[in-house]
């Protein structure tokens, strides 16, 4: 069986574990697995510090008051915690940014990577919110529900990713 102290699991075993999370998601939280709504919750709280009118925007208000979004915000914090625990127990050490970046791009410094990450993160969440879900919500959960819209979203996601990756080195 898989163990927490393993340095790695097969991607199939990891996928089965994630798929099984749909049981508590549907049965206890009454929603599907997702991650990108939590960014709206964070954005809404931060915006409302500087702009009291932000809480009047329905989209922000919904993400600040519904239990579903508290659950998802806790979920993404748990993801960070789980990855930390897993890397520690598995004894996997990593540098301050992935080695892959210097292989795939000409970005060599952490500063350069942070700018790229910020821009990428902005586009990522813009896209996820416009599409109404991300790799978890549309991908893992939407396709498991045989949703037509989610399947279109995943195809578009691959199209956008493939075209963008053309600009990167192949290594």
């Amino acid at each position: 069986m898989i163990r927490l102290t393993d340095s790695a699991w097969s991607p199939y075993a990891a996928g089965i574990v994630i798929g099984l999370l749909q049981i508590p998601a549907f049965m206890l939280a009454d929603t599907a697995l997702g991650a990108s709504s939590s960014f709206v919750t964070a954005a809404a709280w931060i915006a409302s510090i500087f702009d009291p009118a932000a809480a009047q925007i329905d989209y922000f208000a919904k993400h600040m008051t519904s239990d579903k979004y508290y659950w998802q915000s806790a979920l993404v914090i748990g993801i960070a915690l789980g990855a930390y625990i897993s890397a520690r127990l598995g004894g996997v050490k990593r540098p301050s940014f992935a080695k892959a970046w210097s292989e795939l791009t000409s970005v060599k410094s952490l500063g350069g990577r942070m700018i790229m990450g910020f821009v990428g993160g902005f586009i990522l969440l813009m896209g996820a919110r416009i599409a109404g879900g991300c790799t978890s919500g549309h991908g893992v959960s939407g396709m498991a529900q045989l949703a037509v819209g989610s399947t279109v979203a995943v195809i578009a996601m691959f199209a956008g990713g493939i075209v963008t990756a053309l600009a990167f080195k192949r290594a």
Binding site: D6, S10, L20, I123
Partner: protein, 208 residues
Amino acid sequence: MTTLMLVILGLAMGVVFGVALEKSRVLEPGVLVRQFQFTNFTMLKMFFAAVATGLVVLAVLNGLGLTALHPKAAVMGSTIVGGLLLGAGIVIAGACPGTALAQIGVGYKDAWATVAGGILGAMVYGYNIDAIEGLLKVGDFGKITFDQLLGMPYWLLALIVAVALTGVMVALEKWRPWRAEMAGLPGGDRLPPQREDTMPTGTAGQKA
């Protein structure tokens, strides 16, 4: 469930999710970018396994009437434009919204910038939601699903698709064994010894 219970549940589920993203290396930027270059298939392997498992789980739960499904609406304009941007963002950030948090957990410092950029992206979207929706809310087909289109019970089509995806995974594993694809990644120099139960099919994994 009370809000506190939901937060504890979310945290616990997130820990499991984060462990799976780290153990499978799907949080690695190189794994995501190389999936879109079709030079590493670790992400698709995990994704297919997660979808196939979800299909079986939901076929049983929904088939027995224990839970309702929550499919998202198919609004073609926003789904396609948003999906294209999402894919571009995954490659530039080297992360999905969920894996960005996992990257923070394993100590990738640039992931903090990814999350900050993501929060700003969500904020700009929220402030401009009416304008963006007005522009892209075209081709709204509602919450349609393939089982409805085909006039089949959900559980039946879900099980058929799960079997088909398992076939795809068996073929993928024969073509690109997962251990070989993980060897060049962090911790790849000491992958766990081969055991019999690392593949859902039980056999193909041992050929790696």
